[in-house]
């Protein structure tokens, strides 16, 4: 009985620590601190408890315990839709929205993190059961946790494309970035602001896979959102001409983005774009198909 106690405590502790390590409030301010944290921490502890309880239950030949895990999976799906709903509702009040693809990506990440907590605690409790040693349990939990986190880490834009500064000019009322038409700006005053105080970048995909990925509209909205979130956006609701829009050069698949930011610092803009995550849902790999490979050369 005492062993079961140790299994449970080690499992729950390992899973909860894992969940806590994955909770970070950075520039995205999501999950929101402090109340959003409480929600996710509590759910993480519950996930860990479900993982930890499975081993003693199976050891006692209570095979129905497996249904508990199924129940857990159901619960975590709820987390995904909870995150999606809350992000979608706050997205309406963002000056530069995240877009539904980015939201889906974040929601998916939150769901996955609970599974990670559950698997970590399951591994830790299993290791304690087999070795009768609490430290070994923590070690096994840490190893699995690090392995999963490492293997599901996403890639960033800098991994698939180069980012360079670009020139802004006007062809009549048409705003152009490195020759690519972005939009028609009717007001002279706005055009002047763009010429004097805006910064722009060009994102050059490394291969056909990157070209298809960056062409995704959701991915481009994520770029615009991240740039605006980090550099600050100089616009209000009644100034749609200052909405950052990422346009695609249809000749070569390059993406251009001009932004009228609070800090018109090109180095920072390049950095913000480079560190933007590549969304899971926008990833495309035409080069993995025979037709795509053949068309590429």
């Amino acid at each position: 009985m005492e062993l079961y106690g140790r299994i449970l405590v080690a499992g729950i502790a390992a899973g909860s620590i894992g969940r806590l390590l994955l909770l970070r409030a950075d520039y995205r301010q999501y999950p929101s601190f402090p109340r959003g944290y409480v929600t996710h921490m509590v759910l993480g502890v519950i996930a860990s408890a479900l993982g930890a309880i499975a081993v003693p239950a199976l050891a006692e030949k209570e095979y129905t315990a497996v249904t508990f895990l199924a129940l857990a999976a159901q619960q975590f799906r709820e987390i995904r839709s909870m995150e999606r709903d809350s992000l979608e509702s706050i997205d309406r009040s963002e000056l530069v929205p995240r877009g539904s693809d980015y939201i889906e990506d974040i929601a998916k990440t939150f769901e996955a993190r609970n599974y990670i907590a559950m698997v970590t605690s399951l591994t830790a409790s299993l290791a304690v059961y087999l070795s009768k040693n609490t430290a070994a349990g923590f070690l096994a939990g840490a190893a699995i946790f690090a392995g999963i986190v490492f293997s599901i880490r996403g890639i960033k834009v800098e991994d698939i494309a180069g980012v360079v500064g670009a020139a802004i000019d006007f062809d009549g009322p048409l705003l152009r970035v490195d020759g690519v038409v972005v939009m028609n700006i009717g007001l002279k005053e706005a055009r002047e602001k763009y010429l004097t105080r805006a910064v722009a970048v060009r994102i050059i995909p490394r291969d056909d896979n990157a070209r298809a990925t960056l062409g995704n509209v959701g991915q481009r909205q994520a770029l615009a959102h991240n740039a605006a979130a980090q550099l600050g956006i100089r616009r209000d609701l009644d100034e749609p001409e200052f909405t950052p829009i990422a346009r695609r050069n249809t000749e070569n698949g390059d993406i251009v983005l001009a932004i009228f930011s609070m800090e018109p610092d090109i180095e920072c803009l390049i950095e913000a774009i480079k560190k933007t995550p590549v969304l899971e849902s926008s990833k495309r790999k035409p080069l993995d198909s025979p037709a795509g490979r053949k068309a590429a050369d």
Partner: protein
């Protein structure tokens, strides 16, 4: 859920009456380019629309 009309021309401001034939959107006549810019700006601030220049003496305000 918010509902509204998007990508629609809300108003036209022109210095040349000849260039606009029956418009479904309200059309405002301006005596020169300076007034056209000003009127377009004022309408865009009210409607939260965006001003686009058609380069023929007409500006349109579009809700995006």
């Amino acid at each position: 859920m918010d509902t509204g009309i998007k990508e629609a021309i809300l108003a036209i401001v022109t210095t040349d009456r000849e260039r606009v034939i029956h418009s479904s959107a309200p059309t405002f006549f301006a005596s020169d380019d300076k007034e056209r810019e000003r009127v377009a700006l004022l309408i865009s601030k009210i409607t939260l629309g965006m001003v686009h220049d058609l380069e023929n003496g007409c500006s349109i305000i579009v809700k995006h």
